[in-house]
């Protein structure tokens, strides 16, 4: 399968009065066509910054200092705002975190979706757009009458479904979903996850799924990248990473996730807190919290991903632990 997205050495920082915050450090990953790629990590680890820089929608003080983003063979870094507009939504669309609360309260939901369609395909008629919206709504499990309602008339789950319909409105090839179910309760979350999966299969979409919830990532993705303090520390096929996690941080995340299946196990928490990204850290950023720092790893080692088995990459600091 061909890669729809190739990210190489992406580095991004935010300029602040206290200094530069290195939010994304030298990140590389590929997403294949039709694949679902998960990014998991704690808040502040840079998940959303990655998503935003893919579309270059980061805040004004966010600067991409290095790297390349190849989408469908087109380089996105350095493209003009005008050219980027053609890629956004037509090529890559995004379900923002908390987007269901971003509907314009005084415009009907259908009209807001139509607005995006008009912008990106001015040649299609109003009737065609309406048909398309009905089709999308039935795909995400909404009644077509929802298009004529205002956002406050919808429940949280319905608003989120409509957001997904909006993200699909211009037939993108890649959809980025940034914590699409975080504010929803479990039953609604379950329904939304099924809709996303269904739509993805139906349209053959590629998906980048961002979440802090290990259990959701386990269900939704084929491949995952575990992020910590702006870097990817482990990346590989989801089943393999869950079966044999190599990095101590991945292990710690898995150990801190409760489950309702299997034996009730004692969960382990991680001491300390993620480092501030303003401080320039030499060597492994995870070392201060790493449960294995005494025994196995080499904290002065600079972060670098090494392939341990096909497609399974892990930070070099954890490789050392086998040999020691």
């Amino acid at each position: 399968m061909s890669n729809i997205l190739e990210v190489k050495n992406l580095t991004m920082y935010y300029e602040t009065i206290d200094g530069n915050v290195d939010a994304v450090k030298n990140i590389s990953f590929n997403v294949k066509a039709g694949e679902s790629f998960g990014i998991v990590g704690e808040s502040g680890c840079g998940k959303t910054s990655v998503a935003m820089s893919l579309l270059q929608l980061q805040a004004e003080n966010g600067k991409i200092s290095n790297g390349s983003i190849l989408f469908d063979g087109i380089e996105l870094v350095g493209k003009s705002e005008n050219d980027l507009r053609k890629i956004r939504w037509d090529g890559i669309s995004i379900v923002f975190q908390g987007a269901m609360n971003a509907w314009n309260p005084v415009v009907k939901v259908g009209e807001q979706i139509r607005e995006a369609m008009r912008e990106h395909s001015p040649e299609s008629t109003k009737l065609q757009n309406t048909e398309k919206i009905n089709e999308l709504f039935s795909m995400v499990g909404l009644d077509s009458s929802v298009a004529d309602r205002f956002p406050h008339e919808l429940s949280g789950g319905m608003k989120q479904r409509a957001i997904i319909a909006l993200a699909l409105s211009c037939d993108p090839k890649l959809v980025i979903a940034d914590e699409p179910t975080t504010a929803l309760d479990v039953v609604i979350q379950d329904q939304i996850l099924s809709e996303i999966k269904k739509v993805q299969d139906l349209l053959g979409l590629s998906l980048i799924y961002i979440s802090h919830d290990i259990a959701v990532i386990a269900e939704m993705t084929d491949k995952i990248a575990v992020m910590y303090a702006g870097s990817i520390v482990e990346m590989g096929p989801t089943s393999e990473v869950f079966k044999s996690p190599q990095h101590s941080y991945t292990q710690a995340l898995l150990d801190s996730t409760p489950s309702i299946k299997g034996e009730k196990k004692k969960l382990r928490s991680l001491e300390g807190e993620p480092p501030s990204l303003i401080d320039k850290i030499d060597g492994c950023t995870f070392a201060p919290r790493c449960p294995d720092r005494e025994t196995k790893c080499n904290p002065s080692q600079h972060m670098q991903l090494i392939e341990v088995s096909p497609e399974h990459f892990v930070d070099i600091c954890s490789i050392g632990k086998e040999s020691k």
Partner: protein, 319 residues
Amino acid sequence: MNNNLIEVRDLVKHFEVSGGLFSRTKKVIKAVDGIDFDIKTGETLGLVGQSGCGKTTTARALCLLDPKTSGTVNFFNPDRQKMESIDNIDEDGKRTFRRNMQMIFQDPYESLNPRWTIKDIIKEPLDIHNIGALNDREEAVIEILRTVGLTPPENYLARYPHEISGGQRQRVSIARTLIMKPKFVICDEPTSMLDVSIRISIMDLMLNLAKDLDVSYLYITHDLAVARYMCNRIAVMFNGKIVEIAETEELLKNPIHPYTKRLISSIPIPDPSYIREKYQINYDELEEIILKNPDKKMIDVGNEHFVASHDTKDYLFES
């Protein structure tokens, strides 16, 4: 021996809402509609259910934050060593009750006064209830900070909530709650705002404190995986009613009520090789059945496992 700490019988909380701008009729929202449960000393009871099922309303009615519509709540008064109804007790009894029942809220960013130092926040309940000599109170604050793992405590006394992280804030909330040495703490989703790696340490802290200080919890959450980790027993709420209540592992292994089954089947499993079986129910149908059978009898199916009977409709025991 009956060692119940809290006994709730037929607790009802209805809200009246106006039917619209020009409507004279008032609609009644039955947020909590006749629920019964007991909490034993040292036990953690989980209250789970979807948003809007009445979990938080139950909690607020229990601790007198909102007046309940009807029903009785009995509380074991440790000063007098007997059960007392919280409705007709004297001022003294009420004070004892309030001292012994505390609450931890969901959002540590909103439940701490931003203009107060950590010391003032934690000391406030002591001042209100006038516990201990004035000079001893700071000692008590330092002691409790150490208990909740904020060490060295001297570093935290003069800080403000915005200077510490979310996990630390929730520890401050817990410290403020526990400084009263309560017997019963209501926790309303205390970890749902926290990051995964920090969540467990807060949950462990609460479990250890329950053991050391002999505290009972009513733990409200919508996440059964969290409830499994924290609770001895779980009560499942649906539309203001408890539909099933049982010991935690029993409930997860052997759910009987269709809503419980639905809830369990919607929890994602952190194992990519596990394929979840979806259990679908028709909410409208279920609601109708429950509405038609207002009888709130719970059927005992053994093992301390109780299920709402509704009409003992065949669907209940289909499997």
